[in-house]
């Protein structure tokens, strides 16, 4: 598979970001990045090298075409990987949970509702492709939280659980993460933009 990234006219560091995204999403295959200046060319070459990819530059009239070969490793084979791929492809639903309480009102009720919500997700046939935990939501994935078993069940069923690393740091929970993958705002923002539908828990 060959993917084209047209980064002509884009300011630094955008060509690197766009190329990185294409390499991460595409699995094995070739990414060709077009750039219109030598700075972008050199930065994209550095990126390719840092990711262990082979890269060749072809000089063109309006700039450079950088051909980057990504080998093996990331081809989806297991069902979980398939699921991950659909998140990337933007065909599924994402649930964004920015709080450990479901809704506004009594705190205790909010906790109960959040537990019920996550439990119910495990029971439903139609599941989201991913759950993103940010801000207070990261507490739901910390050791000792009553919601951990439900999140584990969802993860086992192929739901991608992304947990905001900055938020874990903020709440001092980094060492106590029980379920999910630590992620960053770059990935989270990208997923949100690509999802077909995002459901935010109030």
């Amino acid at each position: 598979m060959e993917r084209l990234v047209d980064a002509r006219g884009l300011a630094c560091p955008q060509p690197v970001i766009n190329t990185k995204r294409a390499l991460e999403e595409g699995g094995a295959g070739t990414v060709i990045t077009l750039v219109d200046n030598p700075i972008a060319r050199d930065n994209v070459l550095k990126l390719a090298r840092s990711l262990g990819c082979r890269a060749e530059v072809e000089e063109r009239e309006d700039g450079f075409a950088i051909r980057i070969e990504r080998e093996g490793a990331e081809i989806a084979s297991s069902p979980a990987d398939d699921k991950k791929k659909t998140v990337d492809a933007g065909t599924e639903v994402l649930v964004l949970i920015p709080t450990d309480l479901f809704g506004q009102g009594a705190e205790e009720l909010g906790q109960v509702l959040m537990r019920m919500f996550l439990y119910t997700l495990t029971e439903l046939k139609e599941r989201p492709a991913g759950i993103i935990l940010i801000n207070g939501g990261v507490k739901l994935a910390a050791q000792g939280a009553e919601t951990v078993p439900f999140l584990e069940a969802l993860a086992a069923a192929g739901v991608e659980i992304l947990v905001c690393g900055t938020c874990l740091d903020y709440y001092g929970l980094k060492e106590r993460l029980a379920v999910g993958t630590v992620s960053n705002m770059y990935t989270i923002a990208e997923k949100l933009l690509q999802a077909q539908r995002v459901i935010t828990i109030p």
């Binding site: 560091p13 690197v16 970001i17 700075i39 050199d42 930065n43 990126l47 840092s50 770059y186 923002a189």
Partner: protein
């Protein structure tokens, strides 16, 4: 603007300065102009402004002011007065401009100077900085032209702000790495300057847009000496080399590298990512000080005592072709 383009443009006006009272003008590519008033006093004048490097307007104001004040410190002077220069679009909330100016004013007050006025124009992109006036004794001006063979070189802040800011723009920088450079960029070079004045040094410049090697080259060329840089001693912000390796190198670093082609020689052990950091344009970087041999320990101790804890010995001045730089693993 890159150093090559700039020196070309300035060639047109350099010869116009014939007044002996202008102790330091355009000729030696120094940090600020110095004009002698009488036997006891000389004025230092400098101006610096740029587009936002961080999202927080108050922090941006602080960084821009620390950066502008730095030129006075690098000349061994004391800042007295500052004038704001700001560009601001009509489409952004005016409170944001207020926060930028507040950040600048607070930093100027911290420096013991006053904001005496300023000028704001409408522009598509915000820009902020200051024109700063300082005072120095004419005999105690520390120029970038005084480095002598045998001197040792000390750098007072780590390198890598340009690369980390580029990575932050891409959402690829760790938050603690960004927090580190923000704190450093907003830190005045005052304590570093007082340490060098207390010890007595040969030359000084501050590290900004032309990068460590660009400003080092200017110092070496103005002083008519060659320098050796020891890579192992160079203070670096965490993650700077890793991010450079990923291609998050700002255009300014490439322009600096291009300008210095033929003037810098790297030992084979010096990797490309470290070279990128050495060419990386710095915002509100540290002072680069040339100190006579034998005084370096005293200077490092004085810097540490004043809280400039990341200052390191980074090289030495040697005889050789003026302005040439050799980067080696260790001295």
């Amino acid at each position: 603007m890159g150093p090559g383009t700039l020196s070309q443009v300035l060639r047109e006006i350099t010869h116009l300065n014939q007044d002996p009272r202008l102790l330091i003008g355009l000729e030696t590519t120094d940090d600020a102009a110095v004009y002698q008033l009488d036997d006891q006093q000389a004025l230092i004048q400098t101006l610096d402004f740029f587009t936002p490097v961080v999202d927080d307007p108050y922090l941006f104001g602080q960084i821009a002011a620390a950066n502008a004040l730095s030129d006075v410190y690098a000349m061994g002077g004391t800042p007295l007065l500052a004038l704001n220069i700001a560009c601001f679009p009509t489409c952004l909330p005016v409170e944001m401009l207020g926060a930028i100016l507040k950040g600048g004013a607070d930093k100027v007050r911290e420096a013991g100077a006053l904001i005496a006025g300023g000028h704001t124009v409408e522009d598509e992109e915000p820009k902020y900085g200051l024109a700063v006036t300082g005072l120095v004794h004419p005999d105690r001006v520390i120029s970038n032209a005084g480095a002598r063979v045998g001197d040792l070189l000390i750098l007072t802040k780590p390198l890598g702000t340009g690369i980390i800011l580029t990575a932050a723009k891409a959402g690829l920088a760790q938050q603690d790495a960004v927090a580190r450079i923000e704190e450093s960029m907003a830190t005045l070079n005052r304590e570093a300057a007082q340490a060098m004045l207390a010890v007595g040094v040969s030359a000084c410049t501050d590290i900004t847009g032309f990068g460590f090697l660009g400003h080092l080259h200017e110092l070496a060329a103005a002083s008519g000496v060659m320098v050796e840089v020891a890579a192992e001693g160079i203070p670096l912000f965490p993650a700077a080399t890793e991010l450079a390796q990923m291609g998050l190198v700002p255009g300014g670093a490439y322009r600096n590298r291009e300008y210095l082609a033929g003037k810098v020689a790297f030992a084979p052990e010096i990797g490309e990512e470290l070279q990128d950091v050495l060419f990386d344009p710095q915002t509100s970087g540290g002072l680069l000080i040339s100190v006579p041999q034998g005084k370096e320990g005293k200077l490092l101790a004085e810097l540490a005592r004043r809280g400039v804890s990341e200052a390191r010995l980074v090289g030495r001045v040697v005889a050789g072709s003026p302005g040439r730089i050799k980067v080696v693993p260790q001295l």
